[in-house]
């Protein structure tokens, strides 16, 4: 099934929660409003015509200039060999999205990673802890305005260059 058809089906069911334009690409990008992302994922997985059984990737992107955080969901269907990329934009101050970890189990870790590194809150996740950074780490390091701490547990994070004599 091609992207336009997937887009049409989604819009039939969810109306204006799915943005009207579609960006043709190798992974066609369909914009979705934050509140509808979990619902559209569920529809896309459960509809036997689309059957997106795999969440290939989930990435959060910090668009500091637009004051937004974009989250990309790359969905793939092993049955039909088609693919789509759902894109959600949420405000940078308090990014919050409904979880997809109940739809695809791998979403659990991918969302924890996005929370850890970018500070996106996934509502309904249930176990939203840091995944990669230590539990006592402060801040979300992949944000553009993240400042590296001077030291961590007494270990300084700076090193004098040996070339500056």
């Amino acid at each position: 099934m091609d992207a336009a058809e997937i887009h049409r089906r989604l819009r039939d069911k969810l109306g204006n929660s799915v943005l009207p334009e579609i960006k043709e690409n190798e992974w066609p990008v369909i914009g979705v409003l934050p509140a509808a992302i979990a619902e559209s994922c569920r529809l896309l997985r459960d509809d036997p015509e689309t059957a997106f059984d795999c969440l290939s990737n989930l990435t959060a992107v910090d668009r500091k200039t637009d004051d937004l955080i974009d989250v990309y969901y790359h969905l793939y269907s092993y049955g039909h060999r088609h693919k789509v990329n759902l894109k959600v934009s949420c405000p940078r101050l308090d990014p919050a999205l409904p979880t997809v970890s109940t739809i695809w189990p791998i979403g659990d870790w991918l969302e924890r990673e996005a929370f850890d590194l970018m500070g996106v809150n996934f509502i309904g996740h249930g176990d939203l802890r840091r995944l990669l950074m230590p539990e006592d780490w402060v801040g979300h390091p992949l944000r553009k305005d993240f400042v590296e701490p001077e030291e961590y547990h007494g270990i300084s994070t700076r090193r004098e260059s040996l070339l500056k004599l």
Binding site: V61, T102, W104, P105, W109, P134
Partner: protein, 386 residues
Amino acid sequence: MSTTSIEIGLERETPAGLETEEMTLNMGPQHPSTHGVLRFVVKADGEIMRRAIPDIGYLHRSIEKISEKVGYHGFMPYTDRVDYVSAMQCNQGWAIACESLAGIEVPRRGEYCRVIACEFGRIASHLISVGATAMDIGAFTPFTHALREREKINDILEELCGARLTFNYMRIGGCAWDIPPGFIKRATAFLDAFEPLIDEYNELISFNKIYTERMGNVAPVSAELAIAWNLVGPNLRGSGVKYDVRKDEPYSVYPEFDFDVPVGEGKMGEVGDCWDRYMVRMDEMKESCKILRQALGGLPEGPVVAKVARTFKPPVGEAYVRVEGSRGDMGWFVVSDGTAFPVRTHIRTGSYSAMAIVEVLSQGLMIADLIAVIASLDIVAPEVDR
């Protein structure tokens, strides 16, 4: 928490006067049998695990953030370190992602050089994997056999690009160097010597009774479970799903080569058990040899690298590219804003999902089997953490 997590009843009859309680064991981050710095918190009832909770991030080197500071060309050496066991495919993934952003076409000879480098890398990686699996199970000798051959591949790749492990061979638009004189002869000689050795390994370990008992029927993953957890590459094929990015979403010049996609058949138990995952890697080495022979034989003439500006500024947009790494389908996501530095790079790797599924797979297994599961999933720490 997740839809597919299984609740296994481990309640057994406890003789009167005896009490049992759940034991929490810590495995790693320094543990000789976890590949690299992985940590598991094992909740066990005696020898039987209720579950093993993976704790990752001990090798989180912020490679994704570094890409935002060093630019497109400068990021190439870092891609080696995403998966140091088989760095070539990571090189290729990044190069293809950038090329697809900017619409660059790679010369055919460059593509062939890439394929040659990648397939040698795949053999080298699978050798480490099968050798380490055998070592973790308790057989040290196969590991030395595997390393002996890996050293020879290291020599070949060193000839190609000057490095043994972290190659930095590919460039956006092609490869850094053409193949050196006499390379084809030496590479073919290696293949001639290596192909019979795969059968020797099979005789030595794969069909060894102790080995098959230890690996067969342990932690089978059904095809549905594998797809839901986004298992990729040999782990997915071990579960019987015939899917290879090189075949099903072709990139580079892979459609020109004739090779098979081995899948797990459940010869030693259920489909998708540890032995199947292991055996898929063995068979893939043979397929890689096949591809290598065709690529070495049909190497076209011409340049190996296209003309690409030094300050590489791709147009605004995003690209998500998947290549078949040694640990499977590796996704490279790049967002460009038109400047010389990417806005965001995200690498979705095979070991990441393999690590995530351990929590489900470990339920009800013996503690010793956890080692077999990790080894058969071929988890490499930097790929999990990046």
